[in-house]
């Protein structure tokens, strides 16, 4: 069956996916791999960890595709899953665990293996080289210094372009809190950029 999936709406793609069409899953992946990875990457600021978390986010979304509620946007749903995973990860990382067997923030054995190599060699891996360049800018650094709650709101609003209501739903917080976080986050960014 040759359908032009690019013109199909998200909600319909989800229905096709739930029916078992692998190409519908592939289309959802190609639509959301960039935004989901970008959000997680700017939250955890580590490419390897971001890839592992993004992969997990897609797998969880796909596994739960039968439970998708078409009342909400698919993008809100997948971002909610991605954000929950990211927050869980950041919370776990906050407990300082020093391990010789890989970075404490590596979420899978493979990631641990990869990061432990980096730790041992003390050399800059290609991934680190890329991410040091990507996140080195003044504004990226300022975003990185924001509290996680503020950071995710700024990213969802100004990089992913979600509405205030969507952000409230993704983060499970009241609309007023979304506004307050945005005000504070932007004020801090402005201050940091003025100082630099």
């Amino acid at each position: 069956m040759s359908l032009n999936y690019q013109s199909v709406e998200d909600a319909e793609l989800v229905t096709l996916a739930a029916e078992g069409r692998e190409s519908a899953y592939r289309e959802l992946l190609s639509r959301y791999e960039r935004p989901v990875f970008s959000l997680i990457y700017r939250m955890v600021r580590n490419r390897t960890v971001a890839e592992d978390l993004a992969q997990e986010a897609f797998i969880r979304t796909f596994n739960a595709i039968d439970t998708y509620n078409p009342q909400y946007k698919f993008s809100s749903w997948i971002f909610k899953i991605a954000n929950n995973l990211t927050i869980d990860h950041l919370r776990k990382r906050r407990v300082p665990t020093v391990s010789m067997h890989g970075a404490p923030d590596a979420v899978t054995p493979e990631a641990q293996a990869r990061t432990s190599l980096v730790v041992q060699s003390h050399a800059e891996s290609p991934e680190e080289y890329v991410q040091n360049r990507e996140l080195a800018g003044q504004i990226e650094a300022a975003i990185g210094e924001l509290r996680e709650e503020y950071r995710v709101v700024v990213l969802l609003r100004h990089i992913e372009g979600h509405t205030y209501d969507e952000i409230a739903r993704i983060l499970d917080i009241p609309l007023g809190t979304v506004k307050t976080y945005l005000h504070r986050a932007r004020a801090e960014l402005k201050l940091r950029l003025a100082e630099a």
Partner: protein, 314 residues
């Protein structure tokens, strides 16, 4: 430790906060300077300033009603204007009133929050109109608004990052692998469910398996106490007993079938079906439907690997 103090001295009281907010546009003295230093480090007072700012913002946007004619004249004739010798308390209240009146004027500056919301298109239409009316007359606020607009534009121009090459392939492969694992795991889980979990379950399972074992053991123990019994004799005896029981069962079943007339009824039903093909077709259709629905129920409950079916579709 006194809860009323932070590292930079006392918390600001409401008066201090209000004069601080006033001082944003007016003169700056030593007192407001120290209040600002405290504010920089104190989240408690920052939150209260935010709340006050919100109040001022609301007041700044109240509609002004024109008083009835000759209002000013009547007021002025009724009050005593404070002179040099006026009491300090009256001077204070007059100053406060004047300040409040100036606040309610449409030319009150816009708070940072207002400006941010305006820059982000998050202001309700009525408020946006009021804000724009002020902006048209105030280059100060206009500059601040431009600052927020620049920040938002900078954020919105940031690139999105592509995941490492082969990401989608890895996701699909990992997902397929997991789907197969889960199907395997759910079968094991179903078998696992039979395993007793509670003490009661263990008693039941123990009884069910223990009873036949105990019965057999008791029989063996009893037989071993009979000395004239040999193994060969026992086997022969059991064989005869079994053969008798089987033939008795067979003849009784046959007799029962014949006596109940079931065979006759089955014969007449077949005869009837042959006579009317429509009924026969309906019966066949019904039978087929039942077959398929039972297969479906089996499929739902045993759970064939779902991913294998997905491949067939795509």
């Amino acid at each position: 430790m006194n809860s009323d103090r932070s590292s930079h001295g006392r918390h600001l009281d409401d008066d201090a906060i209000q004069s601080l907010l006033d001082a944003v546009e007016r003169r700056v003295d030593a007192e407001t300077e120290s209040a600002r230093r405290h504010l920089a480090d104190c989240r408690v007072c920052q939150a209260r300033v935010d709340a006050w700012q919100e109040v001022f913002g609301e007041l700044g946007q109240l509609r002004r009603f024109a008083p009835p004619g000759r209002f000013a004249e009547r007021v002025l004739s009724g009050i005593e204007l404070p002179g040099e010798a006026a009491s300090p308390s009256r001077a204070w209240s007059w100053g406060r009133l004047r300040r409040w009146l100036s606040r309610t004027a449409a030319d009150a500056h816009l708070s940072g929050r207002r400006l941010q919301d305006l820059a982000d298109g998050a202001l309700a239409r009525k408020r946006a109109t009021l804000a724009r009316a002020h902006l048209a007359t105030c280059t100060d606020c206009e500059d601040r608004l431009a600052g927020w607009r620049r920040l938002i534009a900078t954020l919105e121009a940031l690139p999105s990052f592509a995941p490492p090459a082969g990401f989608a392939e890895r996701v699909m492969a990992r997902w397929r692998e997991m789907a197969e694992e889960t199907t395997g795991r759910s079968r094991a889980a179903r078998a696992w469910r039979l395993w007793p979990r509670s003490p009661r379950g263990w008693v039941l399972a123990g009884t069910l398996t223990g009873m036949p074992v105990a019965a057999f053991a008791a029989a063996a123990a009893f037989l071993s106490t009979v000395p004239q019994l040999t193994t060969g004799g026992l086997v022969t005896y059991l064989w005869w007993q079994a053969r008798d029981a089987l033939s008795a069962l067979g003849s009784s079943v046959l007799a029962a079938v014949m006596q109940s007339g079931a065979a006759f009824r089955a014969y007449s039903l077949a005869d009837y079906l042959i006579a009317s093909p429509a009924t026969a077709v309906a019966a066949a259709a019904g039978f087929t439907a039942l077959m398929f629905s039972s297969i479906w129920v089996l499929h739902r409950n045993i759970g064939f690997p779902r991913f294998a079916l997905r491949h067939v579709h795509s």
